[in-house]
Amino acid sequence: MSEPFDISTWTCPLPLQNYPTIVMGHGSGGRMMSDLIRHMFLPLLDNEVLHQLGDAAVLDIDLDLSRLAFSTDSFVVHPLIFPGGSIGDLAVYGTVNDVAMTGARPLFLSAAFILEEGLPMEKLGQITTAFAAAAEKTGVQVVTGDTKVVNKGHGDGLFINTTGIGLIPPGVQIAPGNAREGDAVIVSGTIGDHGMAIMSVREGLEFETRILSDTAPLHELVETMLAASLDIHCLRDATRGGLAAALNELAKSSRVGISFEEDRVPLQPAVKAACEMLGMDPLYVANEGKLVAIVNGEIADEVLAAMHSHPLGQEATLIGRVVVEHPGMVVSKTGIGGSRVVDLPAGELLPRIC
C-alpha cells in the first residue's frame, strides 16, 4: 500500500482541510467529530447499515442451522505503516482471520479508532483507505464504529479495535480442544514474514530487505480446505508468539502432544537470514496471514492439495503429528536428529549479541 492520501481531491473537504492533524475536538462528539466521520470514514467504508449511524447496527442474519462466530482484536502496531501493509490491513484481516479460524464466513465488522492528538490527517486517510480496501477484499461490511481522541503522548498515533461476526456453516466442528492422536499438523506457508518486516524498520535494528508482511485474509483458504474435508479439527492463526505459540496453545487446549520436524517448516531465506543476524528464532516471530491446521491424518493429503490450489496456501506443508506422549508440550526434531521442546516464548522477542 502506501499510496499517499490526497485531501485536496475530496469533494467537501473544507472543515477537515483546516486541520492537517487530529485535535482533541475530533473526539468530542460535536461538529468536528461529525465532520471527521462524514468526510473521512463514511466515504471509504459506507454501506446501508453504517450510513444510518445509529448507536448500534441492526443486522438481519438468518441463523437457520448455522452458529455465530464472534471475535475482537485490538491493533497497536508500530510503525503504523510498514513493508507490506499498515495497521489498516491488520485491523481488518486480524479479526477476519480470528473469525475464520472457527470455519465461519466473516460478515460484519465494527471499527473503533482511538486517535492520538497530532496524528496527521493524511496518515489517517492512508490507513483508512487501506482499511476500507481490506474490508472490500474480504467482503465484510463495516457496520458500526467509534471515534475517540486522546491527548498527545498517550496514544502511539493510532489504535484500532475491530470486532467481527461470522456464520459457521452446519457440519463444521473446529475448536482448539479437538486435536486427537494421529492428526496431521499443517502450516499454511512461510513463517516469520510479518515480524521480520516490522523488525526491518524498527529504530535501532533496521536493515535492508525485501521482506514484506504477510498480512492477508484467510477465510477463503479455510473455505477451500473445508470443501476438501470437514474433518478439520483445529485451526489457529499464528500471530504473536509465532508458530510456537499457536502449536503450544493447541497442544494445551487439546491436552495432546505435538511433534514436528524443524526442517519441514517453510521459511523464506531472507527471513531466516534476518533471524540469524538478530539472534531470533523464527518459530517465535509473528505472522499475520498464516494458519496452523490440525486435521484427521487420513485426509491430510486432500486438505494439503486444496491448500496448494489457493494463492495463500501454495507453500502449505505437513510439519508434524499429534501424539499421545508429552501432553501439552510441543517437541521438535532438530536438523541433526536431536529433539528439543518448543516452549511458549518468554516475552517480547529481543535481539541478542550472545
Binding site: E203, G204, L205, K252, R255, D263, P269, K272, A273, E276, L278, G279, E325, H326, P327, G328, M329, V331, T334, G335, I336, G337, G338, S339, R340, V341, D343, A346, G347, L350, P351, R352, I353, C354
Partner: protein
C-alpha cells in the same frame, strides 16, 4: 545461508557423532566455555546424541550471566534518570537486579533503547544533545573491540553526551580459576570461537602447559561442535594435551590484530567480580585514564545502589563453574523459570539454565514435565 547451512548438515554431524562414539572408551568431562555454544548444543539436541561417557560441562562464558548484581542495579538506577537515555544490547533487558529489571524501568517511563551495535548508541547521542546516552558495555573479548571503537569515536568526534557502563570480562583467567578450583574436574576445554577470532589462541598454550588439558577452539554450529568434541576426545584418549583449532575458517593463532590494538588503546586489564563466582584477578577490562570522561561510573558517582541481594535459592555460580547442571538445582522450573528468574543464568538467552528450561531438559526424560 552460505557458510552457515553447511555446518548444520545433519548427516555430517551424525557421522562425526558416530566417530566420537567409536573413539571414546572412558568418561570425560569437557567444558564448553561459551554460552552461545551451550545454547547451540542444547537447541540442536546434540547433547542427547553424545555417548554417555561424555559429560558436557557448561562454562561461565555468558557475559550477561556474570555481570555483577551491583552493576545491574547501577544500570537500572542510571536508566531511571530523566536526563539519561540508556542504550543496551537486547540480552540485558530482562536480567533481574535486586528489585527489578531494565524492562520495568522502561515501563515506568525510563528511556531505555535496544541497540544492535554500539555505534547506534553513539548515533542516539548525536541526535539527542540535551540528554546523556549511557551504553551498557557488556561482553567478552569478542565485543570489546566494538565497544572500544564506540568510545574512541566519541572522543574523536567530540561527542560529550556519551558514557559507557563497562562490564567486560575475559576468558583465560576464568579458565585458570576453574582449573584452580578443587571442586571442578574438567578434562578438556572447548574454547570460544569468536573470542578466539579476536584474541587468537596463543594464550591457551600456557594453560595447556600448566594443567595438561586439551584446548580445542570451537565454532557454533553442530558440525563445528561435533568436530571439536571429536578432536578433544581423540587427544584425551591418546593422553595428549595440545591447543587445536577446529574453527580455522575464522580463527588463527594470532587473532585479529587491529581489533586487539583498539582494545589495548581504550581498555586496560582489571580485577572483575563475576556474578555467582566471585572476583577473579585481572579478568576484566576498564577504560583507560585517557577515556575516563566516558566511564559512566566515574561520570555519575552519585548513583547509589542499594545493597545488592541475591536470591538465596539461586545456585547460578555453581552452574557457571560447571559444578551443577541446571536441572540439578532444587529451584529449577519451580521458583525459578524464565518468567520469574532468580538469577541471571535463567534470564540470559544463552545462560545454561535458560537453555535447559527453554529446550526442555527438565530431567532425563522429556515427559517428566508436569505443567499443562
Amino acid at each position: 545461508m552460505k557458510y552457515l547451512d553447511e555446518y548444520r548438515d545433519g548427516e555430517l554431524t551424525r557421522k562425526l557423532l558416530s566417530e566420537i562414539n567409536q573413539a571414546v572408551t572412558r568418561p570425560w568431562k569437557i567444558m564448553e566455555v561459551c554460552g552461545g555454544q551451550t545454547h547451540s548444543i542444547i537447541k540442536s539436541g546434540l547433547d542427547q546424541l553424545l555417548p554417555p561417557e561424555i559429560d558436557l560441562v557448561h562454562g561461565p562464558g555468558c557475559p550477561v550471566c556474570v555481570t555483577p548484581l551491583e552493576l545491574i542495579d547501577k544500570a537500572i538506577a542510571l536508566a531511571s534518570q530523566p536526563e539519561i537515555i540508556f542504550a543496551s544490547y537486547g540480552d540485558m533487558l530482562r536480567v533481574p537486579g535486586s528489585e527489578k529489571d531494565l524492562f520495568s524501568v522502561k515501563a515506568a517511563g525510563g528511556d531505555v533503547r535496544i541497540v544492535y551495535s554500539p555505534l547506534d548508541a553513539l548515533k542516539i547521542a548525536r541526535q539527542n544533545p540535551d540528554k546523556t546516552v549511557v551504553f551498557f558495555g557488556i561482553g567478552f573479548e569478542t565485543t570489546a573491540p566494538a565497544n572500544a571503537m564506540a568510545v574512541m569515536q566519541a572522543k574523536n568526534q567530540g561527542i560529550k553526551n556519551f558514557a559507557m557502563l563497562v562490564s567486560h570480562v575475559t576468558v583465560p583467567p576464568a579458565i585458570t580459576a576453574i582449573m584452580e578450583s578443587p571442586q571442578v574436574q574438567v578434562n578438556a576445554f572447548l574454547a570460544a570461537g569468536h573470542v578466539c577470532t579476536v584474541m587468537g589462541y596463543w594464550e591457551y598454550q600456557q594453560l595447556v602447559d600448566k594443567y595438561q588439558v586439551p584446548v580445542v577452539v570451537m565454532g557454533f554450529e553442530p558440525v563445528d561442535i561435533a568436530r571439536a568434541i571429536l578432536m578433544c576426545v581423540k587427544q584425551l584418549e591418546n593422553g595428549q594435551a595440545k591447543v587445536a583449532n577446529a574453527y580455522a575458517r575464522s580463527v588463527d593463532e594470532a587473532g585479529n590484530l587491529p581489533a586487539q590494538d583498539i582494545i589495548n588503546q581504550v581498555f586496560e586489564t582489571t580485577d572483575r567480580a563475576w556474578r555467582g563466582i566471585g572476583t577473579i584477578p585481572l579478568s576484566g577490562y576498564r577504560l583507560r585514564a585517557a577515556y575516563h570522561q566516558f566511564d559512566a561510573e566515574l561520570r555519575f558517582p552519585e548513583i547509589q545502589t542499594i545493597n545488592p541481594q541475591e536470591s538465596s535459592l539461586c545456585i547460578s555460580g555453581l552452574v557457571l563453574q560447571g559444578l551443577k547442571k541446571p536441572n540439578e538445582c532444587p529451584a529449577f522450573g519451580k521458583e525459578c523459570t524464565p518468567q520469574s528468574p532468580l538469577g541471571a543464568t535463567m534470564v540470559s538467552s544463552e545462560g545454561a539454565c535458560a537453555a535447559y528450561y527453554q529446550y526442555g531438559r527438565y530431567a532425563a526424560n522429556l515427559d517428566q514435565k508436569e505443567d499443562i
